[in-house]
Amino acid sequence: MKVLMFGWEFPPHIAGGLGTACYGLTQGLAKNQVDVTFVMPKASGEEDQRKIKIVNASDVEWNTYYAQQVQESKELSFIEVNSQLIPYVGLDDYFNVINQIESGLFEKQIPGEKRKYLFSGTYGQNLMEEVAHYAIVAAQIATNEQFDLIHAHDWLTFRAGIAAKKISGKPLVIHVHATEYDRSGERNRNEMVYQMEKEGMEAADAICAVSDLTRNIIIEKYGISPEKVFTLHNAVQQNKKEIVREKNLKGKIVTFLGRVTFQKGPEYFVETAKKVMEYDPEVRFVLAGDGDMMTRIILRVAELGIADRFHFTGFLSGADIDTLFGMSDVYVMPSISEPFGISPLEAMRAHVPVVISKQSGVSEILKYAIKVDFWDIDATADAIYGILHYPALAKIFAEKGKEEVNNLKWEYVAKKLKQIYEKVLENQQFPKS
């Protein structure tokens, strides 16, 4: 079985969980004898290509014929966006990003009708335009490559998936890692992104949702027929080397790790910290990450007068994350809405007990975790206090939690995914109606 997969990012250069998930999934598919050709807007050449083939969309020469094809078809009419939209960052960050984007994008004119398009592959200000061009290039790739079906990850690649389906006639599976409802909430949703998500869901032959939570959103908020929506929980990569548990600070450490945005609930982490510190002056809280709510959070910490035991690390990656987990006694994820949430699994992998919000997809699959409502500061504080003060609890989580996470393998996820592929192919061969 051959799959043409469209993604937006892939390790080692990633901005969030999407790239990590794509990596794990493609490795798992390889183990299940599924060949994957992974297309991304801008590959660095450093990607791991041992098990899958990477296609760099920026290298693909495309025929203007496809641009016309794609543009002429009704379903795929372009929305010209003179967009100032940056869906993955909040307003405060917006101006920073504008200054940061160095190259932006430009078109290379090539003699004749052939063209190349250089993508930035980020989530910058030309995102909408890139998304649109990605679809054109996808159509070209779909004629170049041999495959049985198409798999597209998140709204950024849905148009590419639809275009590839249009050109090849092969079935389309889309993968929803997050919806506009998780990113922006009901009221602030970006209409254009919502429309593109809905379009992708409607055009798809099957939809993979990363949790039941996301599956329900797809069915209820996007009006998609439940029969074609499947829950496919994420897994976590096994860590190559054991994380060293080592502390350079006295006292217990409670950790938050993630983007400091509304969706992740950092405010609740601060309020919880205050509550616990009042009764246990020995404990320290660490907030690792950056985002548009940072200033507000710092101000609140100062206001509560807990800055001496509440620490900010800024954005962390790689080895720094391992060091932090190695120091942590509790990991807290108070997300307001989390389609999946892979970070608790990474914490558990490092023997750290976790307290997670019930409003997260990952809570659907974990047994060895304390689950609380994100808004329930008392319950969260109580759970943290319990883990810090009643050793039996920390022990059971450290041991059994690690065991539990070790059994969440991408290989098994991919096996389930392969079954979905098979079902889709079967349905295409023998349509129901």
Binding site: K275, E278, Y279, K367, I370, K371, V372, D378, A379, A381, D382, A383, Y385, G386, H389, Y390, P391, A392, L393, K395, I396
Partner: protein
């Protein structure tokens, strides 16, 4: 002649409220009054009142109908607090002279798994209460969840009991039948009545099970099960939670009619009769021994004590609880002392169980905790406060009461 020994257990605990760590050393009200009142009344309405009424009617109608029951001290206090009519009905039953109250622990305690001292304290408290409320002194004993071992048996004999009701656990009995009378190997004067759990589960677990090949269970069918037991095996011991009638199986299932007619049939048949546990104390013939070096119980299929002490959380809570044994003895804070007894209830430990994880078992019917971990944290918070309360000495106590008065 086969003898049917009916025994019903009433064991409602005082349920804990959500007690946070910041309540420790500040608030000493640990119990969820609303829930305790709600459950006591719900159960009374669905089960305790109609069931006791049914038994009263049957006792009046049939001179040869006898039954026994046990009720924990906590349950007595709960009903006194929230639903006194239940106690009145039980008193009426006892007044017929054909109902035996069997001894048990004060708070559905698992103290017998820790040691003699706390276990005997529980028994003493319970005897005091039974004397006060029903004016009886039991001579038969049914421990919490039928927990029993050779050693527990010896302690009980020492405490003045000569009959113990426990589980007919297969891994202990082997090829032997629970339908004979047994005795403790070290204290042969202590007689053992063993529960026929298969016959009990037919009602408790399978009465409404449509997938069961014997469904629906009728009185005739049930009597045919009784008849299948060999003629010389005289004792058919049916011990069950009283909640079986009306709560586990609602009235609409026909469970009341089933029990009513079962009693009628047994009472009217010549080859069947009812007995009370205390009657077997006077049996003179030589009995075979039942040797139980480790504790057994009536819990699920394993008949062991893993439901309460199966994981690290339960063991930790158990150790932390009973480490306060001496503190309890010395303490003069009576309120805290009662609360310490109440924290020994098996129910609290069952809520921390990960045995059937994540599926809920029958036993966790009234579980209010989102997970075993939260059950553990809540329990430990309460325990820590109870400990502080037990530690208060005389001076402090007077201080506290003065402060209260000043307020």
């Amino acid at each position: 002649m086969r003898k049917v020994c009916f025994h019903f257990q009433i064991t409602q605990p005082y349920r804990l409220r959500t007690y946070r760590f910041f309540d420790i050393d500040k608030n000493h009200n640990y119990f969820d009054d609303f829930q305790n009142s709600y459950l006591a009344n719900r159960l009374a309405e669905r089960c305790y009142l109609p069931v006791t009424q049914m038994f009263i009617d049957l006792l009046e109608k049939y001179d040869n109908f006898f039954l026994s029951f046990s009720i924990t001290g906590d349950s007595i206090r709960l009903f006194q607090d929230y639903c006194p009519a239940v106690i009145e009905n039980l008193k009426k039953m006892v007044a017929t002279g054909k109902v035996e109250i069997v001894g048990n622990t004060f708070s559905h305690s698992i103290a017998s798994l820790y040691g003699k001292k706390s276990f005997l304290e529980q028994i003493k408290e319970q005897e005091k209460l039974l004397k006060e409320v029903f004016d009886v002194k039991p001579t038969s004993f049914c421990n919490t969840e039928l927990i029993y071992s050779d050693e527990i048996g010896e302690w009980l004999y020492e405490a003045g009991y000569n009959v113990v009701l426990t589980e007919g656990a297969k891994h202990i009995l082997g090829w032997k039948s629970p339908s004979y009378l047994y005795c403790n190997p070290f204290q042969t004067e202590l007689k053992l009545l063993l529960r026929n759990y298969s016959l009990c589960d037919d009602i408790t677990l399978r009465f409404e099970d449509k997938g069961w090949d014997k469904y629906p269970l009728t009185v005739d069918k049930y009597l045919s099960f009784l008849k299948a037991i060999p003629e010389d095996a005289a004792y058919i011991n049916l011990f069950m939670d009283i909640e079986t009638i009306g709560e586990y199986h609602p009235k609409e299932s026909g469970v009341f009619d089933f029990f009513y007619h079962l009693v009628v049939e047994i009472a009217e048949r010549e080859n069947l009769s009812f007995i009370l546990p205390s009657e077997v104390a006077s049996v003179k013939e030589d009995l075979s021994t039942m040797h139980s070096p480790w504790p057994i119980s009536g819990s699920s299929d394993e008949k062991d004590v893993n439901e309460w002490l199966g994981n690290e959380l339960q063991q930790e809570a158990f150790q932390q609880l009973f480490i306060l044994e001496d503190l309890y003895t010395e303490s003069q804070n009576n309120n805290a002392k009662t609360n310490w007894l109440r924290l020994q209830a098996a129910d609290h430990f069952a809520f921390m169980s990960t045995k059937w994880f994540p599926e809920l078992s029958v036993k966790r019917n009234f579980d209010v905790y989102p997970s075993p971990y939260q059950a553990f944290i809540n329990y430990m918070n309460v325990l820590n406060d109870v400990k502080l309360q037990l530690e208060l000495n005389d001076k402090h106590l007077t201080k506290v009461s003065k402060q209260v008065k000043n307020k």
